[in-house]
């Protein structure tokens, strides 16, 4: 039930931000749309257990996002430097890291976080092993330390 409430909240804010009109007619269109989407999602729920996967309920999420922004900025500067330095500055590697998360949502978040930071891309996910391609061995070493993995797992706990 709380999941549906959160979903309604997300959909409603999405509608309001996209339309920006507060006339009764348009608001009622919004309400109808949300009801239809919820109904459709509820039907799909019988096939798929994760119909509402958007929300990973954790109080630490804002802190994680902030940390991610810092990581993205740092790795962007690093990759940009390597681009200007040319081919000699890169040493591509492929390696695997273990994902310690239990739920699928958290694993997706971890894999996507890896992909989102320039310099590392997740190639495949099998059970709890992620295959990662890194632009430089430094970026690979950085990821192998497992700080990102720890932080995502901590999101699950809280």
């Amino acid at each position: 039930m709380s999941k549906i409430f959160g979903f309604v909240l997300v959909l409603a804010s999405f509608w309001l931000i996209s339309s920006g009109m507060f006339k009764p007619l348009l608001l009622s269109f919004g309400v109808v749309s949300i009801v239809i989407v919820i109904a459709l999602t509820y039907r799909m729920k019988k096939k798929d257990a994760e119909s509402f996967p958007i929300i990973l309920p954790s109080l630490r999420l804002p802190g994680y996002l902030l940390w991610m922004v810092g990581q993205i900025v740092a790795s962007n500067l690093d990759v940009a430097k390597r681009i200007w330095a040319g081919k000699s500055a890169i040493s591509p590697t492929i390696f695997t890291v273990k994902a310690t998360q239990k739920t699928d949502v958290a694993k997706v978040l971890y894999a996507n976080s890896i992909t989102m930071t320039p310099g590392t891309v997740t190639l495949s996910v099998r059970e709890d092993v992620l295959e990662v391609h890194a632009l430089s061995s430094e970026a690979a070493e950085d990821l192998k330390k497992g700080e990102m993995d720890r932080r995502v797992t901590a999101l699950e706990a809280a």
Binding site: F14, I17, S18, G20, I72, V73, N76, V79, A80, R82, I83, W84, G86, K87, S88, I90, S91, P92, T93, I94, A111, N112, T115, M116, T117, P118, G119, T120, V121, T122, L123, S124, E131, H133, L135
Partner: protein
């Protein structure tokens, strides 16, 4: 105050443009598919982020700011998804990545 905001927003937008160009140059400069993917991801994280931040400082209403942030969220979802889809299908098609130190391989065909 307006002048300060304008200067700040222009710094962000110009920096975003610079990183966009950097990503494009990396796309041509790097030797193989996988390393080019990394160059492209500069464009859809940092470049987009900086340009949107610059535009946020220019916008006149809260609604516009929220719309811009929504756009940033869209990029945050689609960027990694597209990058992963490309990388995974390349891997499954058995496209061999170029590995190791690239220092001594100048002029070699990728």
């Amino acid at each position: 105050m307006d002048l300060v905001l304008d200067i700040l927003s222009w710094i962000f937008i110009v920096a975003g443009g610079f990183f966009g160009i950097t990503g494009a140059i990396g796309l041509f400069r790097f030797p193989d598919f996988y390393s080019r993917l990394h160059a492209a991801s500069i464009t859809d994280t940092f470049s987009v982020g900086l340009i949107i931040l610059g535009l946020v400082l220019q916008s006149s209403s809260v609604l516009m700011v929220l719309k811009l942030l929504l756009l940033l969220l869209l990029f945050a979802y689609t960027g990694p998804t597209a990058a992963h889809a490309l990388a995974k299908s390349a891997r499954q098609a058995k496209l061999e990545p170029l590995l190791g130190d690239q220092t001594d391989k100048k002029g070699e065909a990728p």
